[in-house]
C-alpha cells in the first residue's frame, strides 16, 4: 500500500518537473536545456551569467518564462487541490470551482475591486485575492443554500445553481467591463482567462494566500474521508461535521480565489484532475488532495504550453484549451455518474 502511494507521488512529481522544463524551454525563442541548466546553476549559486551566453537568454528565462511558469504552476495546483476538496465536501464528482460558479464569483470580486480602485503596486496586488476570496465564499454559500433539497444536495440542483450563480456573476462582470473606460478593460481581460499578468509581482503576491489555502487543504484529507459517509455518520465518528465542512470550503475558496485573482477564470482543471487521480489511485483524500495539487500544476502547464504554441506567435487564452479537453470529459463523467446521482 505504502509503495503504491510512493509510486504515485514520484510519478506525479516527475511529470511536473518535466512539464516545468518544457514550459521554460519551449517558446518563440527556444532555450536549449544545457543553456537552461547553466543559467539556473549560475542563478542558484549566485554567480555571474557565463560570458559566452547571449544576454537575452537571461532575460527570457528569469524575467519572462520562469515567472510565467511558476504562476501557471501555482494556479494549476490551486485548481487541482481545491477541485478535489469541493468534490469531497459536496460528495459529487461534478463539483468543480468553475462549474459551481465559484471561479466566476471570485472573478466578480476581483473586478469590483479593480473598478473601485485600480490596484497599483503591492497594496493593490495583495488586496485583489482578498476581494476574490470574498466573492468566492459568497458564491459557495449561495450555491450551497440554493442547491439544498430536503437537506440533501442532488447533482442536478447543485450544478444548475452553480451555473445560474456563475452566469449572474459573469454578467455583472461583463457589465462592469462595458461601463468602464479602456484602462480598466485592459486590466481585467485576464480575468476572462486571457493573457495573464507577467513578471514576479503576481507570483509573490499570490504566494502567501496560496500557502495558507493549500496548507488547509492538505490537512483536510482525513476529515474529507470521514465526510464521504455523510454529515450524520461523520458526527457519529466524532467529527464536528459542520465546522469541518466550513473550514474546508474556506480553504478551497481561498485557493480558488488566488488562482482567479492572478490567472483569470480557467475551467475544468479542478474537475478532470481529481477524477483522473481517483481512477488511477483509488479514493483516499489524504492522497487525493496532494496528488491533485501536483497533477493540476502539470495539467495547466501543458495546457498553457499548447495555448502558447498552437497558433504561435499568437497566444490563446489558456481557458480555451482547458475547456477544449475538459468539456467532453465533463459530459463523460455526467453520463457515468447518472445512476447514482440522485
Amino acid at each position: 500500500m505504502k509503495t503504491r502511494w510512493g509510486r504515485a507521488f514520484w510519478l506525479s512529481a516527475g511529470l511536473l518537473v518535466l512539464a516545468v522544463g518544457l514550459s521554460v524551454t519551449v517558446g518563440a525563442v527556444p532555450v536549449p536545456l544545457p543553456v537552461l541548466a547553466r543559467l539556473l546553476w549560475a542563478g542558484l549559486s549566485g554567480r555571474a551569467v557565463p560570458a559566452n551566453l547571449p544576454a537575452y537568454y537571461h532575460t527570457i528565462v528569469f524575467d519572462l518564462r520562469l515567472p510565467h511558469t511558476v504562476l501557471m504552476l501555482l494556479t494549476g495546483a490551486a485548481l487541482g487541490s481545491s477541485g478535489a476538496a469541493y468534490q469531497g465536501v459536496f460528495r459529487n464528482p461534478l463539483a468543480d470551482p468553475y462549474l459551481l460558479g465559484i471561479a466566476s464569483g471570485a472573478g466578480l470580486g476581483a473586478v469590483l475591486i479593480l473598478a473601485i480602485h485600480r490596484p497599483a503596486g503591492w497594496g493593490g496586488a495583495l488586496a485583489l485575492p482578498v476581494a476574490a476570496f470574498v466573492g468566492a465564499v459568497l458564491t459557495v454559500a449561495l450555491v450551497y443554500a440554493l442547491a439544498q433539497v430536503e437537506g440533501r444536495l442532488p447533482t442536478t440542483t447543485l450544478i444548475l445553481a452553480g451555473v445560474a450563480i456563475g452566469s449572474l456573476a459573469s454578467a455583472l462582470t461583463s457589465f462592469l467591463m462595458l461601463e468602464s473606460e479602456g484602462t480598466l478593460q485592459r486590466a481585467i481581460t485576464y480575468l476572462m482567462g486571457g493573457a495573464p499578468l507577467s513578471g514576479w509581482q503576481p507570483v509573490l503576491a499570490m504566494l502567501p494566500y496560496w500557502l495558507v489555502g493549500q496548507a488547509g487543504l492538505l490537512l483536510s484529507g482525513h476529515a474529507l474521508n470521514v465526510l464521504q459517509f455523510g454529515e450524520e455518520q461523520a458526527q457519529h465518528l466524532g467529527l464536528n461535521a459542520r465546522r469541518a465542512k466550513a473550514l474546508i470550503l474556506a480553504a478551497a475558496s481561498l485557493t480558488t480565489a488566488v488562482a482567479v485573482a492572478f490567472a483569470g477564470i480557467i475551467g475544468f482543471i479542478g474537475l478532470v484532475v481529481p477524477h483522473v487521480v481517483r481512477l488511477l489511485w483509488g479514493e483516499d483524500y489524504r492522497r487525493e488532495v496532494p496528488l491533485s495539487l501536483l497533477g493540476g500544476a502539470t495539467a495547466l502547464l501543458l495546457a498553457d504550453l499548447l495555448a502558447r504554441t498552437l497558433l504561435a506567435p499568437r497566444v490563446l487564452p489558456v481557458g480555451i484549451v482547458t475547456a477544449l479537453f475538459g468539456a467532453p470529459f465533463f459530459l463523460w463523467v455526467l453520463r457515468r455518474a447518472r445512476p447514482t446521482a440522485t
Binding site: L219, G221, A223, V226
Partner: protein
C-alpha cells in the same frame, strides 16, 4: 452502570415526536426498540446517538449526560450502525473500518499500532478479514452492513446503537447479523440498543424489548412479558396471535381480520 433515558421529549422544529420517554438499559444487555412506523424509534435512536438534542430530559451513560460531551468524547462512548445506503463506492473495507478510529486520531488521521489492532480485531469478529482490500461497491448488501458494524466495533465504545440493521437483508443474513451482534454483546460486554422491524427477531435476540407508540413508551421488559397478543393488537392496530416455540420464545403472527 447503565444507559438511562430520563424523561426524554424530543422532535423537530415543526413537530414533537417523543413524549416523556423514560427507560433504563442495564449494562451488557440488548434492548430492541419496537413499534409501528412513525412511533419515534429512529428519533429516539438519534437522541441516544447525540445527533438530536432532546427538548427535555437527559440521556445518561454511567451518570454522564451524553449531550454535554464534545463530539470526539461522545464518539468514544457511543457507536452507531446506520443502514448501509449510499456508501462511498471506492473506499476499501479496511479504509472504511479504520474511520471508526476517528475519535482517537488527530485531525490528520495518522493511525498507530493500537488503531491497526482495533481494526484487525473488528474485521476478524465480523468475518471481513478476507475482504479487507475490496472496494465497498463490490460487496453484497449483507457484507456492507457488516462493514458498518465493524466500523462501529473499531470505535471501541461500551454502547452500540443499530438502526434497522436487517432491513435490506434476506432471512439468512438477518439472523447471521443479529446473532453476531448478540455474540459481540456477550463477548465485549456491549450495551446494545437496536431498532428492529421484525417482532420475532426482537424476541429471539434481545434481552429486553420496548414498544413505542405515538412517541410514548407503551411497555418495556422481557420479550415474553411485553409481546402479548392484546398489547400488540392495540399498538399495531392489527389482530395478532402470539405463539410459543418449543424453546419458549414468543412468535407473533398476524391473525385473520
Amino acid at each position: 452502570m447503565s444507559l438511562e433515558i430520563v424523561h426524554v421529549s424530543a422532535g423537530y422544529p415543526s413537530q414533537q415526536v417523543l413524549d416523556d420517554v423514560h427507560l433504563t438499559v442495564p449494562k451488557g444487555q440488548i434492548l430492541a426498540l419496537l413499534g409501528p412506523n412513525g412511533a419515534g424509534k429512529t428519533t429516539l435512536l438519534r437522541v441516544l446517538s447525540g445527533t438530536l438534542a432532546p427538548w427535555q430530559g437527559q440521556v445518561r451513560w454511567e451518570g454522564r449526560d451524553i449531550h454535554r460531551l464534545a463530539p470526539k468524547a461522545r464518539a468514544r462512548l457511543v457507536a452507531v450502525v446506520p443502514q448501509a445506503r449510499a456508501l462511498p463506492p471506492a473506499f476499501t473495507v479496511e479504509q472504511a473500518v479504520m474511520l471508526g478510529r476517528t475519535p482517537y486520531l488527530s485531525w490528520l488521521g495518522g493511525a498507530g499500532q493500537a488503531d491497526w489492532k482495533a481494526v484487525q480485531r473488528a474485521l476478524t469478529q465480523t468475518d471481513l478479514l478476507p475482504l479487507a482490500a475490496r472496494p465497498l461497491q463490490r460487496l453484497s448488501g449483507g457484507e456492507q452492513q457488516r462493514v458498518l458494524l465493524a466500523r462501529a466495533l473499531a470505535q471501541e465504545t461500551p454502547l452500540l446503537l443499530l438502526d434497522e440493521p436487517t432491513t435490506h437483508l434476506d432471512l439468512h443474513h438477518q439472523s447471521r447479523l443479529l446473532a453476531l451482534v448478540r455474540d459481540l454483546s456477550r463477548a465485549r460486554g456491549l450495551t446494545v440498543v437496536m431498532v428492529v422491524h421484525d417482532l420475532n427477531q426482537a424476541a429471539r435476540y434481545a434481552d429486553r424489548v420496548a414498544i413505542l407508540d405515538h412517541g410514548r413508551l407503551v411497555a418495556a421488559g422481557s420479550p415474553a412479558a411485553v409481546l402479548t397478543a392484546e398489547r400488540l393488537t392495540r399498538v399495531y392496530r392489527t389482530p395478532v396471535e402470539v405463539l410459543t416455540t418449543a424453546q419458549g420464545w414468543p412468535v407473533v403472527v398476524a391473525a385473520a381480520e
